[in-house]
Symmetry: C2
Subunit: 457 residues, 2 copies
Amino acid sequence: MSLDAVLARIDTDLPQATERLLDLLRIPSISTDPAYKADCDKAADWLVRDLQSLGVEASKRPTPGHPMVVGHSGGEGRHMIFYGHYDVQPVDPLDLWDSGPFEPAIEETAKGTVIRGRGSSDDKGQLMTFVEACRAWKAVHGALPGNISFFFEGEEESGSPSLVPFMKENADELRADVALICDTGLFDSRVPAIVTSLRGLLGEELTIEGPDKDLHSGFFGGVAMNPARVLSRIIASLHDADGNVTVPGFYDGVAEISDEQRAQWQALEFDHDAFLGEVGLSELAGEQGRTALELMWSRPTCEVNGMISGYTGDGFKTVLPSKASAKISFRLVPGQDPFKIRESFRAMVHELLPVDCTVVFDNHGASPGIAMSTDNEAFDLARAALSDEWSDPAAYVGCGGSIPIAGHFKSILDTDAMLIGFGKDDDQIHSPNEKYDLESFHKGMRSWARILDRLAG
Amino acid sequence: MSLDAVLARIDTDLPQATERLLDLLRIPSISTDPAYKADCDKAADWLVRDLQSLGVEASKRPTPGHPMVVGHSGGEGRHMIFYGHYDVQPVDPLDLWDSGPFEPAIEETAKGTVIRGRGSSDDKGQLMTFVEACRAWKAVHGALPGNISFFFEGEEESGSPSLVPFMKENADELRADVALICDTGLFDSRVPAIVTSLRGLLGEELTIEGPDKDLHSGFFGGVAMNPARVLSRIIASLHDADGNVTVPGFYDGVAEISDEQRAQWQALEFDHDAFLGEVGLSELAGEQGRTALELMWSRPTCEVNGMISGYTGDGFKTVLPSKASAKISFRLVPGQDPFKIRESFRAMVHELLPVDCTVVFDNHGASPGIAMSTDNEAFDLARAALSDEWSDPAAYVGCGGSIPIAGHFKSILDTDAMLIGFGKDDDQIHSPNEKYDLESFHKGMRSWARILDRLAG
């Protein structure tokens, strides 16, 4: 009965919960860009105040970067720590947004009602599903269930430089029986998912420098080394014709998935044509002979995230650029050593450098892929709770993205982490016109209420 | 005696001439960027007024783009038409300028006095050497020598879209006995040069489009086609390991230089180590087994002038970009057909496109390489006049840059063109901190006075 009252409260409070989320979405907390430092701080303050309104002992905790928000409900029973992040991705190209990225709004679309705006899905909307479930619980019962801690980060989209030091310094405070992380998606609109493996991320930026100034291509073209050509050759060398990454030792330690795993993923009947069609594509572009789920969940990758050189404005400028740079990310699976791969990648680049060119590397983070242990009974309890809320039973799945926090909970705090989220493939996170389905928000809150009901007992 | 008086007048008027040039340099007439349209117009007006002050019948002549300035002195004798351009290159990267590009100033440097600012060398400073020589002549003689026409363009740095139509429409007005073009350099600080061959320019911009929006590289990396990788592979394919351009048919019609030509260029004792050292390089990067002068003056090239894709701001963004684009220029030598090469380049790009990618091309001009005939006696007269002014005899040389106007004078007006200029290799034209040596400006004016003296007779 008590769970039903909480679910009913969530249903009636949905308009107010939505308004609160819009309020949070209006804060442009872009962590990677120093221009938005004050906004990150503002988002943290907003969350501290909101947790305090739930009776949670919450505070903003300084780091060398953006602050953490930590809160504790106190209480008895299983100690659960909930993690989400309040920072968001940059918004460019801004001209591809149909409305202001930080002017969030509820929109009716052909596919249903959505909450539009940067961070609506990644991760403010997801974070608030849990906070709102707690609010409803508190409204009905006067207190939160069990013993809940809150842990919100503001640097997830910029490599989390302060996360590990903070977790190490505050290990006793953050250790719990189970960690709950809401930064992933549904398998599809009917099937909720608990992620049991995640890819890691190695972020590298390289700048090739040649002539000590931009030159006139009429005089120096065909005589002087062109860094844009050198960079292109390096990028083109990172894959072979079959889509395999050519960095030496890249696949060391990468295991093939088990037949059982393969069968389980096949049973999900993932529609890869629809998945690709959604973004205007028709064919899988990665390693040959693998399914989309295998590629996304179990195979490592190398991608160019950005590159620039020379004149890129309107019109034409016959400059021979003095430098060229690219941002390159590697998605890693369990078994790969991010630091060895960084070393091997950099050695490969040096190997490809012609005379008169030098390279400067910037480090944008290195985290390994991780696989969860599902032995903790919380996994089966949460799976059952999710299955109650959604039309189809919940699935254990992999995730192509990188959420290093899950690995840190295990390695630093010896705390098992469950990744449960309600995002959809078409949420356009990291892209213009990001949205979060109102249904994801609503059923997400209800899902957490059900999970808390099972776990807090 | 009369020439000596003109030269003396140039010497005493140098400070005033310099002030007039600084005034013109303050106008940011960047032709390629629509934001500076009014400034291009302003520069044209400035020149019309200045020519009128010399008693020249001058006017601004509209085109679909930036206006032309045309003027006629009238008078008897050899009809000479002088060409220069009043538009300038863009200034980015702006942060590499030590002072404002359009706040020109006289600076003392270790290598002598320079006029600093965008356009000081390319081409406002050079253009004004001729105008100032005329001004001195007029001050001494009360009229300009011979029969001089002036023809100033405002679209030279943006592909000259209006030039050919304008020349065709006004052919009778612009036809002359000889054209004088001041947009090239000295061979070195002692040896003045008359350019007898120029490379042409084919400008191409290509945009590779893949997914219909930017994607999250965690989910789509290794699954979806990445246009930045496709573009890199295309650019890397444009040259073989020996630096030869691989576009099919690219070298069709390219002739080896004659032994006589090679000997003449060898005699110039070009110091390619110093030339490369000047820009921080040590080795020739183009086709193997050729000298720097051969590469610059007689060989065609393909260079990347700019490229961009994905996130290029501060920090890191794990986006899989939906498109990638590059600006690519080909420098062409006599015998190559720019239109055939454009067609072959585009076909090659289509050939390299994977499934799910499309390409859009933009055309940024196509002009062939040209070789002058030195049979016109004006060439030898000018060479002798230059040899009088400078410490060493003038040389007939090639030029790696593209000054299509020289070819247009011949093909449209049947008028031979002489390219005489006073720029230096270290002028940093098209780059930050462009400068023009005060000596180039001063001796440039004196050179034109001597050339006019010989040609007007």
